[in-house]
Structure formats: C-alpha cells, structure tokens
C-alpha cells in the first residue's frame, strides 16, 4: 500500500461525535469570549481600550528610520528626543538592528507637520546619517473618521453576513452563523490584545478577511447540513449535524491547511509590516474552523429548524440524547 496520494490514506468517513462536546466547547468559548472582551476593553483607554492603538485610530505620527549599515543607537535617539518637549516618544527596534520605529503624539495645539520636522531634525543631529524610510502622520479629524469607519465596517460586515445566510438558508442558520462570527471577532480582538499587535486599519482588514473566511467555512458546513436534513427526514438533528460535519471534515482540513501554509509563508517572508496581518489571519483561520463546527451548528440546535414534514422542534442540545 502506498502513502501517496494522501487522500487515499486518510480515513474515508470519520464518526466523531462533535455535538456531544458542544456543551463543553460552548462553556470554553464563553469563557474565552468574556476574557477577550475584558482584555480588549480594559483599561478603557480611549480610543482603543486595551488594544495597542495605531496612529490610524489614535492620531499622531510614526516613522521608520534606518541608519544602515550601522545599527541604530536607540538610547542616543531617545535622549535626543526627550528634550524636545513632545511628551511620550516611543523609540523601539523594528526588524533589522539598523532600523527603528519612532512613534509620538502631536502635542495639543502644535502643528503636526512641524512636529514631524522637528523630530526628524533632532534625529539627524544625534544619529548622523538617518534615512526616513517611512513617515506617517494622521491628524485627529482623520483618525476619528477612520475609527468610526472601521467599527462601522465590522458591524456592517456581520450584518451583511446575517442577511445573506438568512436569504440563502433560514433565519436560524443566520443566527448560528452570526454567533460564530461574533465569537471569531471577539477572540481575534483578544489575540490582538494579548500579543500587543498594533490595532490599525490593517488589523481591521485582517478581521474582515477572517469574517469572510469564517463564513465561507460555515456556509460549506451549512450547505451539507441542509442537504442531509432533506435526505434524512427522521434522523435527530444532533446526528444530522454530526454527520454533516464529518462528511465535510476532509475538505475543512485540506482547505485550512492550504490557507495556513500560505499565511506561514507570509509571516515568515512578508517583512515586519505584514507580520501583524498574517498572525491575525492565521489565528482567525483556526478559530473560524473551530467555530463553524462548534458554534454555528450547535446554535442552530437551540432554536431548531423547520424540516420538510414536521414543525420546528427545539431539541435539547448536546449529548442529552444518548
């Protein structure tokens, strides 16, 4: 027997009793969601709560400087900048030792553009030859707008998914899908908080991608679920769900694997500016797969579904049946 192609070696049909673990998974997820929410919001520092706020949402300036081939003397740079009276200036290593990142807020009443110039001049004076590889400045008006747009975008995305699933399936499916989405989004926020990944527009884009991916996964499971509901009209709901998930399991694993492979490549070779984006998406792929199985489908059971020849009947979820 050969081991290739692998598809022949993989078990043809698994019989995992996913639903049986749903109660346990639900408890775990609720705890994780609450924990993530707490980490995201605490210590309620506006505008980003507990997240490491990027200038997109907070306003201020950030510069990437390089003194290649010399390495950046961070202490010297800090010393030069503290005297400027601009308040809290962060100078941190960024990628290669010859690069650093400088981040600061424009002092109240000062001109943002002039502040950037002052900082650049001070850095040039203390470090000698500095190149400013990247300079970003976001004023308070724009950062407010971007934050509103970002939060609105996330909300709209979830709403759009609810409506789409409602339209294509049934309301119960939509609610299950949205429960899974909230789960994914909150946990992702938790990850961003725990790992101190900067919360900026890229992070929002990553979360939106996760929403798209998680829905993709959920829809695939739902599709099979709906088909099996029609096929096996008398089979208990929990068993239909288990069967549908098991049938799609090979596909779920293969697709997640390709996404994970690509994202690992991105995290490894994409450079520091794509690192945050790829880590968030990697995590999201895992969470999205988990939530399709353990959140989206079981939530449907709480409400029950209309089946062709009988009225909707809410079933007691999870292992209660056996």
């Amino acid at each position: 027997m050969s081991f290739w192609p692998l598809i022949k070696v993989l078990p043809v049909r698994t019989h995992f009793r996913f639903v049986r673990l749903a109660k346990f998974a639900a408890a775990l997820s609720i705890v994780a969601v609450i924990g993530s929410l707490a980490l995201t919001l605490y210590p309620f520092k506006p505008p980003c709560g507990g997240l490491a706020c990027g200038i997109d949402f907070q306003g201020g300036s950030v510069m990437e400087i390089t003194t290649a081939p010399k390495s950046v003397d961070l202490a010297k740079a800090r010393a030069a900048l503290t005297g400027l009276g601009i308040g809290d200036i962060q100078v941190v290593a960024f990628g290669a030792p010859s690069s650093a990142m400088v981040k600061f807020q424009t002092p109240a009443g000062a001109d943002a553009s002039a502040t950037v110039k002052t900082v650049q001049a001070a850095l040039t004076q203390s470090l000698g030859e500095v190149r400013f590889a990247k300079t970003e400045l976001v004023g308070p008006k724009v950062s407010n707008e971007l934050l509103t747009k970002g939060v609105l975008g996330l909300g709209l995305a979830i709403l759009a998914m609810l409506l789409y699933i409602w339209f294509r399936f049934e309301l119960q499916f939509g609610l299950g899908a949205v429960a899974a989405l909230f789960h994914d989004v909150f946990l992702t926020f938790g990850l961003i908080a725990v790992c101190h990944i900067e919360f900026n527009l890229n992070a929002v884009a990553a979360i939106l991608t996760i929403i798209g991916y998680s829905m993709n996964d959920t829809v695939v499971v739902f599709d099979r679920f709906r088909e099996n509901l029609r096929k096996y009209k008398r089979m208990p709901l929990a068993e239909v769900i288990d069967m549908s998930i098991n049938e799609m399991l090979t596909r779920t694993i293969i697709t997640s694997m390709t996404a994970v492979l690509a994202l690992i490549a991105l995290a490894a070779f994409g450079g520091p500016s794509l690192w945050g984006l790829s880590i968030i998406m990697l995590f999201g792929i895992g969470i999205g797969t988990y939530s399709s199985i353990y959140i989206a489908a079981p939530v449907i059971m709480l409400w029950g579904v209309k089946r062709a020849d009988e009225e909707a009947q809410p079933l007691t979820p999870a292992g209660a049946k056996s």
């Binding site: 975008g153 995305a157 527009l201 890229n202 939106l208 829809v219 695939v220 390709t258 492979l261």
Partner: protein, 533 residues
C-alpha cells in the same frame, strides 16, 4: 457536465490567452516593454505608493479662517452701506453673526432694507436667494448672518481655487507631476509617486503666499513694541528670519499680491544675492508710485503670510511698475517664492490632516518580501495539493491555480487597479483559498462514488452539486471585500480590490478550467476508476 461543450473550451482558452497577454508586460524588463508593437498591451501592475515609494498628503481647507475672513469683509460692507445714512453703534461679530444697534428706532426698518438690498452676493443655484440673512431683533438690533449654504459654497469654491493654485505652483516648480484631487467637502488629496521627501512639495502647498506691502510706522518706539502697545490702525508683524525682531506696520496695505503680474528669481546687481524680481499691473504700479513718492526716506515692509521678509527704506519714487524683493534668500527659496507669487495666494490656509510617505528603498524591500512570500506560499500550496490528490487531480488544481494567478494579474494590469502591500497578502490568501473550490468538487465526487454512482455520474454530480456551495462560499468573501473597500485608506482599499478580483477569477478558473481539464482526461483515457477514490 463531462461532455466537453465547445463554448467552455473556447472560454477557457480565451481567458488563458488574455490573462497571459496582459500579465506578460510585468515579466519583461522595461527596455523590452518599450519595443513591443502597439497592439500588445504594455501596462504593468500599478503599484501603490507603499510599494513604489512616494507621498500621500491629505489637506483640509481651514474653513474657519475662510469664514472669519468673509465675516470681516461683510462687517466692512455693512459699515460702508450704512455710513452717512443711518446712525448706529456697536457693530461687530458675535459668534458666526454680525450684530449692530441702530440709534434711532425709526430707522431700523430702513437699515434692514438697505442692507438686504446691498450686502451679500446672490446665492448660486437659488433664484432670488441671498448669501446672507438680515433680521431685526429686539432692542433696535440688527443681525446679519450667512446662510449655511453660503458657507458650504464658499468652502467648495475655496477647495476648487486651491486645487487650481496648487496645480499651477507644482507645474512651474518642475517637481514630478502628482495626482491632485478633491475629497469630500473641504479636502484635497495629493499623491506623488516616487516623491519620498515631500518637504519641498509641502512647502509649495502649505504656504498661503499672501503678499502685502505695508508702510512701517516709525513713530512706534521699540518700547511700545515690547509692551505690546500698538497705535490705532497699526499691527505688529514678526520678521521672517526670527532675528530682526518685530515691526509695527500700518494695517492698511498699500499694494497686495493680486496686483503682481509676474515674479522671477534673479540676482541683486550690487550684492549678487538671490532676489525676486516682480512687476505690478497698472493699478499696482500707480499706487506704488504714489506711495513711494509721498513717503521718501520712510520704510515699507514686504509681508508674506504675516511675516516681514524685508523692510527697505524708500530711496526714490518707484514709478516704473517693477521692483525687487531681497531677503535672506537662497537661489532655491527665491525661486520657490516667485513660483508662489505667480500662482497666486490660496483663498484659505491649508492644514495637513494625513501624510504617508514611503521611501523608494523601503518600497522595493516590500515588493521583494511580497514576491518571496507569494512564491513560497504558492509553491507550498501546489506541493500540498499534489501530495493530497496525486499528479492528475493535484495537477489539475495547480493548472487552475496558475490560470487564476494569470487572470488576477492580467485584470489588475488591464484595469490599472492599485496593488498595495496588504494587497499582495490578499493575493496570496486568495490563491491559497482558491483551491477550496477544487477540494469541494473532488470531495463531492468521492462522496458520490461511495454512494454507489457510476464514475461519470459521480464526476458530473461533483461539479453540479459543489457549484452552489462554491458560489455561497465565495459571495461571503465578496461581501467582506466590498465593505473593506469602503473603509477608505489606500492600502486597505488595495487589499479589498485584490480580494474581490480574486473571488471572481477563482470561481471561473476553479470551476471551468478544472471541468475542461477533467473532461478532456475522461474523454481521452476512458478511466474505470477515479484516482482519488
């Protein structure tokens, strides 16, 4: 589905050829691209500023300052309208309004009528509408205010004028031409590719460049200046070099920048210093001639944006209508000033709201990093698919993937959609997830085969039944991409755009290309079993 219809084959071939044709220029060096015959597309991917290096600047027109100026002018109009006709007191600005008190109660109605007739321009687009409202209030007071539409209209006009002036300034400064566009009600976006040091650009844009010639009031002593005691009708203006100290000048300007017809950088004949030579129009020349004749031996200040550039002593009457501004200029700053003066003053100050600058070096690094991770990610996905499904089915999905990549890059080159760094990430993810459609189809085939169908029936069902799922799954991606696109910000927009194009090409290539290839395989080999079952 397994019988190969001709239109499907044609569609796939056409897509592949077009995809390859539009992708091709990206693979050729620039020198070869230029030599391509005219009918071959030569457009490459349009890289975003974060990949090619460049500056993105978002300015807002200071509408508050604009309105302040309009209110000041309106106050003067009101004063001159009522002067000699109606006795009034207490004329001044209260918030966004102008208020005055008519001394004689009997004249209030007359005053209101006179003001309604004369002050305020007609409102554009509204027949009989006026920009201002004039209302009598209690205690013989009259309140005059701009209607909101007038504020909006003058902000819009200021934005348009500013764009025009910025364009003139940049055109004559010789900088590489940037994109200038209006955004929203009161904003201007400037995108300069390849400009990684925007300071010169900012210097050209950020200056209002309001030039005035004002007489220096030599009666005011330095002690007065230090104590902030300003004689009536005078104002204190700082010097531009920050060393000379402040000047007390007459508030009324003798000549303004609008009266200049031409300015040019030159050199002073005696000192050899860089200077700006200028010429006045008729009115300016006459006024300047009169004032210089009357004020021999006194000083006048040349004031730019409320800073005194220089304050020469009038040696003789200047009647020729031309003159010279000398200050502490370098050749470049003198040249910049002449550019600013020629283009005219901005109607209101502009403020930097957002700036994103990426050096060309960093951009090139990003392109390298993006390309490496794309290639590694793609190759890993391909190896994985072959490992899972074997040469035939894995190979088919690889071909579908390659066609997909060709189409995405081809469409992006054709439409000149902007590719950004996050966009590259979107591209990689799209391609990796694109094989999902293949997986869905293959798994469905295996399911059907196990359910006891014949080989051909299973393959047919694999396509037709997986189709619904593939559509549903991809529409969710399209929805999130659409919402992302509306988030604003260039790089994220690029990401959304790449995702959206990717979804469309994925459905095409994974379904149609896979189908054609498998049908062809079936037709030529007449297999008895499925190699993946």
């Amino acid at each position: 589905m397994m019988n190969l219809s001709r239109w499907k084959v044609i569609l796939v071939v056409v897509a592949v050829v077009l995809g390859a044709l539009f992708t091709l220029p990206n693979l050729l060096p620039a020198s070869m691209r230029d030599k391509l015959p005219g009918f071959v597309p030569s457009q490459t991917l349009h890289l975003g500023l974060d990949l090619q290096g460049g500056s993105y600047l978002l300015y807002s027109v200071d509408t508050k300052a604009l309105m302040g100026e309009r209110l000041t002018n309106l106050t003067e109009d009101v004063r001159s309208t009522l002067r000699d006709k109606v006795a009034f007191t207490d004329l001044g600005q209260v918030g966004d309004e102008i208020s005055l008190r008519v001394t004689d109660p009997a004249q209030v109605a007359d005053a209101v009528n006179a003001l309604r007739r004369t002050v305020g321009a007609p409102l554009a687009g509204v027949a009989g509408g006026s920009e201002v409202t004039v209302n009598a209030a209690a205690d013989q007071r009259i309140r005059i205010a701009f209607v909101p539409a007038a504020f909006d209209a003058s902000a819009a006009k200021a934005v348009e004028q500013s764009i025009e002036i910025i364009r003139r300034r940049i055109d004559s400064s010789g900088t590489k031409e940037p994109d200038i566009a209006r955004q929203g009600k009161d904003r201007i976006v400037i995108q300069a590719a390849g400009e990684s040091d925007p300071e010169r650009l900012k210097a050209l844009i950020g200056q209002t460049a309001k030039l005035t010639f004002q007489m220096v009031d030599d009666n005011a002593t330095p002690q007065d200046i230090a104590a902030g005691r300003v004689p009536p009708g005078d104002e204190i203006v700082a010097s531009s070099d920050g060393i000379t100290g402040s000047y007390v000048v007459k508030r009324r300007s003798v000549v303004t920048g609008e009266m200049l017809t031409h300015a040019q950088q030159g050199f002073d004949q005696q000192t050899g210093q860089p200077v700006v030579n200028f010429r006045f129009n008729g009115l300016g020349a006459q006024r300047f001639g009169d004032v210089t004749r009357q004020n021999l031996g006194k000083r006048f200040a040349i004031v730019l944006d409320k800073k005194v550039i220089s304050a020469p002593v009038i040696q003789s009457a200047i009647t020729g209508g031309s003159g010279q501004i000398s200050g502490h200029f370098t050749q470049e700053s003198a040249n910049d000033l002449s550019v600013l003066l020629n283009a005219g003053a901005l109607p209101a100050p502009l403020k930097v709201e957002e700036q994103r600058t990426v050096g060309a070096e960093l951009g090139a690094d990003a392109v390298r990093a993006g390309t490496t991770s794309a290639v590694v990610g793609l190759v890993a996905t391909m190896i994985f698919m072959v490992a899972i499904y074997g040469w035939l089915f894995g190979g088919v999905s690889i071909v579908a993937l390659a066609v997909n990549a060709l189409m995405i890059i081809g469409i992006m080159s054709l439409t000149q959609a902007t590719l950004t760094l996050p966009g590259i990430a979107g591209l990689i993810l799209t391609l990796a997830v694109a094989v999902d459609a293949n997986v869905l189809i293959y798994e469905r085939m295996r399911d059907e085969l196990r359910a006891g169908r014949s080989l051909i029936a299973s393959m047919d069902a694999g396509f037709s039944r997986a189709m619904g799922t593939i559509m549903d799954a991809n529409i969710t991606h399209l929805l999130s991409a659409f919402i992302m696109f509306n988030l604003g910000s260039g790089p994220v927009k690029g990401f959304a755009w790449t995702l959206a194009i990717g979804v469309l090409t994925t459905v095409f290539s994974a379904v149609l290309v896979t189908q054609v290839l498998l049908a062809w395989w079936f037709k030529t080999t007449r297999p008895k079993t499925l190699p993946i079952a």
